[in-house]
Amino acid sequence: MIDFDEEIRKFQPSLEVDEAEDAIYNNDTTDVTAVIDRIVREITEK
């Protein structure tokens, strides 16, 4: 049985073209390679 309201809450607004610029600028997620790089740097400095 589906809970309609619960299902609706799962729906998120679609990104509009006007908002794409902000999305691009905010795309500063750290990937695993960056994590590894930071770890290696810390070890080397010690």
Binding site: F4, P13, S14, L15, E16, A20
Partner: protein, 461 residues
Amino acid sequence: MRCYKCNSVLSDEDYCTKCGADVSVYKIVVKASNSYYNQGLAKAGVRDLTGAVTALKTSLELNRQNIKARNLLGLVYYEMGELALALSEWVISLNLKQDRNVAEVYVRKVKSNPNKLELINQAAKKYNLALAKVKEGGDDVALIQLKKVVATYPKFIRANLLLALLYMKRNEDERALKLLKGVLKIDRNNTLALKYIDEINNTGVHSDSKDKEEYYRNSKHRPLSGNDVILPRSSYKEPSSGVFTVVYILLGVIIGAALIWFLVVPAKLQSSQHENNETIKKYSEQLSGYSVEITTLQSANEELQSQLDAANEELENYKGDTSEAALYARLIEAVSEYLDNNLDAAALALADIDVTQLPTEISKSLYTTLEENCSQGAATFYIAGVNAYNQQNYVDAARYLERAYELDDTTVETPYYLAMSYYGLNDLENAQKYVDIVHERFGGTTFAAQLDEYINSLTTD
């Protein structure tokens, strides 16, 4: 593969030959990222877009420099109707790698069709508005908006799913299923679509909304509601060839002619017959009128004829011997003869007058006086009668002798000459009357014998 530190090309060693950095773990991560990219590519190839997105996102989380994965993720987003997300990925991709990047082609193609770009952007805006309305409880408005979005941009998976969910809430499972099947054609393993279909086929959905109404999913046995529209199957079929067209035209002409023959012609005939009847009736009325007029004229004619006859008769009275004027003339003649002392002539003149026809008492009195003074006896009339007989004037002879016989019936001569006068007039009845008188009263006389001889001579002839 390049070094994450100096960007030089790495060898098979676990360190960078140029900067000496340890790349053993880095190589594992990049290989894992590439592996996820391959998975994403494989899933996108079989239209498992949801799975592809998951794999590609993982690939980018491992290595955000994976340009191929990012470009493919943008392509998958574009196919799912998420243009803004696609553009974002492609722009980031271009930012990371400016030269020889296929993302540049994608962005250029999208920008080359501004109308479609605007249409997709408007679809996204309407979807967001509809989603806001749904969350506020305005399902009807949202439904209308989403219908428009899906109609203009059918690849917009998110809008399709939300509209399907609204249909499910309204127990319109057939429509929901149609939308969900459309979604699965774009994204074969779309998790939400599969979930909703599964719910439609098996269980129900319930809402925590204010009315706490439950919605059951067994749509195949759902009774019809007032909002359902039943479209009848069309029985119309296009004709297969021009022959049928000609046949239909001929049939139409025949039916038209039959209609004219059976509907219009009888009406015309009836109208004509009615007009004829009216004409006949009119002429009959005129004939009746003429007949009445003729009858009236005939009766008037008869009346006029009778009046004419009466007038003629009256005129004859004035013209004939019995007229008043003639009677007065005879009376004046008698008076004149009397004054000349010619009494016999006066008596003969009086004999021609019928005293009953005299119109006045004075004239009758005058007639009586003259008759008394002029009458010398039967001899006068006897002589006048015999003279007339001798002159073969039997009419005057009979008249004078009748007068003489009235005055004196004792002599045989008077009835003898009367009988002879009537024989002369061929009045056998009166003649026989006086013959009988002669035989009865004066039988055996010479006059009786002469009469017998005369009669015998007539019989012999």
